[in-house]
Symmetry: C2
Subunit: 503 residues, 2 copies
């Protein structure tokens, strides 16, 4: 069928054409069906049915398709119905509880990456894996397919290591200390990190306060070879691109299917060529509520690593409250840098960072007492020195001092209402306050904890300070902090119910 | 946040606004999040992130939202993030295998009808019901919620009956005979029918050859009260509107979850006020491959009916080949009308139609020998007379003769290649040929069978004729009929494998 192009002047992130109902009926097309769009060039697009404004004989063409096929306003475009991709059949098989073959999983992942699946079909794949699960064969194939459908890195020389933290704990800025410590010892650590999705700051957001994190795979390789380590944003690369698409479905449903979590983490580590990997599994977050869940997940990571030929060690860590005292991009960068400058700081931060660096030293056979080895590097100032080299290599100022980092100038202190001890620092509530204050978008926004779990406070002492760049966001954050207190001092009335009386 | 409206000149069937990445970041919004759009009027819309062409400070507004909120190009629009509807939580519960409460199901159905769920969320509801199933409490609540969120019909007087055929068998034009037969006996039968989705003709498509089927609920009621029966397209009404949305997710995945099938059928019957219902369950189609599946489904319908206070009888019918000889809208209308005019025709059609009408007569206590009673009405000519009244009431020509119905004038006969007997008439292949010929869009397109299963043929005799309105569609249909023969004469070589030889 030949139609007249009507260009829709927006990009909507997928290849879509919009048809009049009559034309769609003529070709027997329903919403969501696929057509080959043929103009100067050709592509496959998904059909949407216009509810008006596209006349019979016209074809609404979204910007992506117009560009790809070199279609001009009013020009003639031919469309031909095409069958569904074969992967839809395989997704149906998984929906009905079947086991997928290697070929089937590779086909699905390729179709995810080439955007050939509709949102309903992609959702069906993610949800059926969530409900029915994937067995280890399937998880291994999924991981390999995710690696192979994206960019990969190989290093000719050197021992490549990496670490990954399962999310859920605020303030987890440990990578800013681990990467330079490990690199200072001569290992290669090309760390790709994520930005915050629902947290107050991802490692990429935190590092971005000090340096450029939008690095290509070539830049990651070059910097790692030159200075030993890098902290880049994974999203700027094309490493394991299927993962981003899958996350777009998981996020609105707030699900994190175990098979996809395993594949997602290991695909990224495998793609950058790491052979020795530590997985940090914080226990006490909603993702890993108890030690048993943590051990099970740890076993899964080790087994998947074995199948992929990767050496994996998992560290179950305390995740019941934030790591360190700062939450929010600039505050976390400040805390990490200050800790390296002063060679001391929050114990939860230093112990965790050096502990994980130490595991990497033991895994690679550099020492049998990793923690002591990491501590020596840290205390000697080599961690800071290497960190400055990494910042410089990523285009930042190597001489930056922690106290020069700009923090939001609108602040508010939350005080202890009574004498007592801190019973709870609630991770989710802290994040909610920090995000309301503007994090991660406003780099200077966040929360600084003055008291953590178990510490004694007197009435009127500061529990935490909220930082913001904008007054209205500060107000919002204060309101939330009042309504849902993130730091609870024992002895406080937690909630008040209406009293009852006898009638 | 105040943004400048940029109207996107298409309707895309949902309420969406398109934001620049920077503005979305500022508000902490991700693709798929919801915002309240406030202009002269206000609504809730889903956020899409522009990949270009929407500048910072601009808001792409799709036509639906522009109209609803009375937004003009360039005018100021305020947007405020709003939380997800509560039903997303309930959908998560079902995803994890939980049982939903009555309130939770009602909330979900209301959100489906008000378009408050995104495609990912709606897909999650349908798929989790598909995989985990719904128990009878949940199915009952789903059905009731579907009825209550749409239009309903009540008749002050008379006995209201209805019938429904589970799809899967081509040529099933029985409603055109059942409705007038039942109405001629004094019962009320306000039949709403569907159009073809994947078949060659739905009952609404077939009836539309002779009369207007786009009737409102008021018209359906008025005509039923006046002449006793109606055959209308359900899609023109607002009866059980949740069902249409659910089907939009099921179709691309080619799934038909049992709970949704049950709820969908019974909600439509319940909404039009029917108290006595026959469900026709053809056995031998992919939906109901064998009698055991049929019996199980029948039990489910009866039980759901009992819970809803409806009297349900199921008829397991032979679905191994088409009903009657004609497939396609005009051909089916022709066959149904000709059968009523001549009071004879294909046994499969007459026996099935009168059998089901007869069950309704027995259920309502009008007779103990329903088939004989139905046959008497049919043979007396009252069925035809009533059918003409119904056609007239629906704005058609009451004096139309079957041979005046326009059928596609491009035809091609497929001949028997050898002497033998018809072993198979393949339902799916027949439908594929009829659809390729243009059905259901081209009303005159379709297939007329000259031989059915078990009949003897001589080489060169006609097996079936393909009808089309357009030459190119006829060519396509012939090609498909040659490649995948829908009528197999035994003795034919079905497939030829490479011969093997000893090495």
């Amino acid at each position: 069928m030949i139609l007249k192009a009507k260009i829709i002047p927006i990009r909507i992130g997928k290849d879509a054409v919009i048809m009049n109902q009559a034309d769609a009926d003529e070709l027997g097309l329903l919403e969501g069906d696929r057509v080959r769009v043929i103009a100067k060039k050709s592509t496959i697009a998904t059909v949407q049915i216009a509810m008006g404004l596209i006349e019979k004989g016209e074809l609404g063409v979204c910007h992506e398709v117009a560009e790809e096929c070199e279609i001009e306003e009013g020009s003639e475009v031919k469309i031909v119905p095409v069958p569904k991709p074969r992967s839809v059949e395989y997704i149906r098989k998984k929906l009905d509880g079947g086991k997928l073959t290697k070929d089937e999983i590779y086909t699905i992942v390729k179709d995810i990456v080439s955007n050939a699946l509709t949102e309903v079909e992609l959702t069906a794949f993610v949800l059926s894996s969530y409900i029915h699960g994937l067995d280890f064969d399937e998880i291994e194939w999924l991981t390999r397919a995710m690696i192979e459908t994206g960019e990969t890195l190989t290093f000719e020389e050197g021992i490549v290591v990496d670490k990954h933290s399962i999310g859920g704990v605020p303030g987890n800025k440990i990578s800013l200390i681990i990467v330079p410590t490990v690199a200072a010892a001569g290992l290669l650590i090309p760390k790709t990190a994520s930005r915050a999705i629902t947290s107050a700051s991802g490692t990429a957001d935190t590092m971005e306060v000090l340096a450029n994190v939008n690095l290509s795979v070539e830049e990651i390789k070059e910097i790692t070879e030159r200075v030993g380590g890098v902290i880049a944003w994974g999203g700027a690369t094309n490493i394991a691109p299927a993962d981003d698409r899958i996350i777009r479905v998981e996020y609105p449903l707030a699900i994190d299917p175990r098979p996809q979590l395993l594949a997602s983490v290991m695909a990224k580590k495998g793609a950058i060529g790491a052979k020795n990997i530590v997985i940090d599994i914080p226990v006490g977050s909603p993702k890993v509520p108890n030690i048993e869940t943590g051990r099970k997940l740890a076993n899964d990571f080790v087994e998947l690593g074995r199948r992929l030929g990767l050496n994996v060690t998992c560290a179950l860590t305390y995740g019941g409250q934030p790591v360190g005292r700062a939450i929010g991009p600039a505050l976390e960068a400040w805390e990490a840098l200050k800790t390296m400058e002063e060679k001391r700081g929050a114990r939860s931060l230093i112990e965790k960072a050096l502990g994980i660096a130490g595991i990497l030293f033991e895994m690679t056979g550099m020492t049998t007492n990793g923690y002591a080895y990491a501590e020596e590097i840290f205390k000697s100032g080599k961690t800071l020195e290497k960190f400055r080299q990494i910042v410089e290599a990523q285009g930042g100022d190597p001489n930056v001092k922690s106290d020069e980092i700009p923090i939001g100038d609108k602040t508010y202190d939350i005080l202890a209402p009574i004498d007592g001890a801190v019973a709870v620092v609630n991770n989710q509530r802290i994040v909610k306050v920090a995000r309301a204050a503007g994090a991660p978008k406003d780099k200077g926004a966040g929360v600084l904890l003055h008291k953590k779990g178990g510490q004694h406070v007197k009435a009127g002492e500061k529990l935490f300070t909220i930082y913001a760049e904008k007054e209205w966001k500060l107000d919002k954050a204060i309101e939330i902090a009042m309504r849902e207190p993130p730091v609870i001092v024992s002895g406080m009335i937690l909630e008040k119910y209406p009293s009852y009386r006898l009638v």
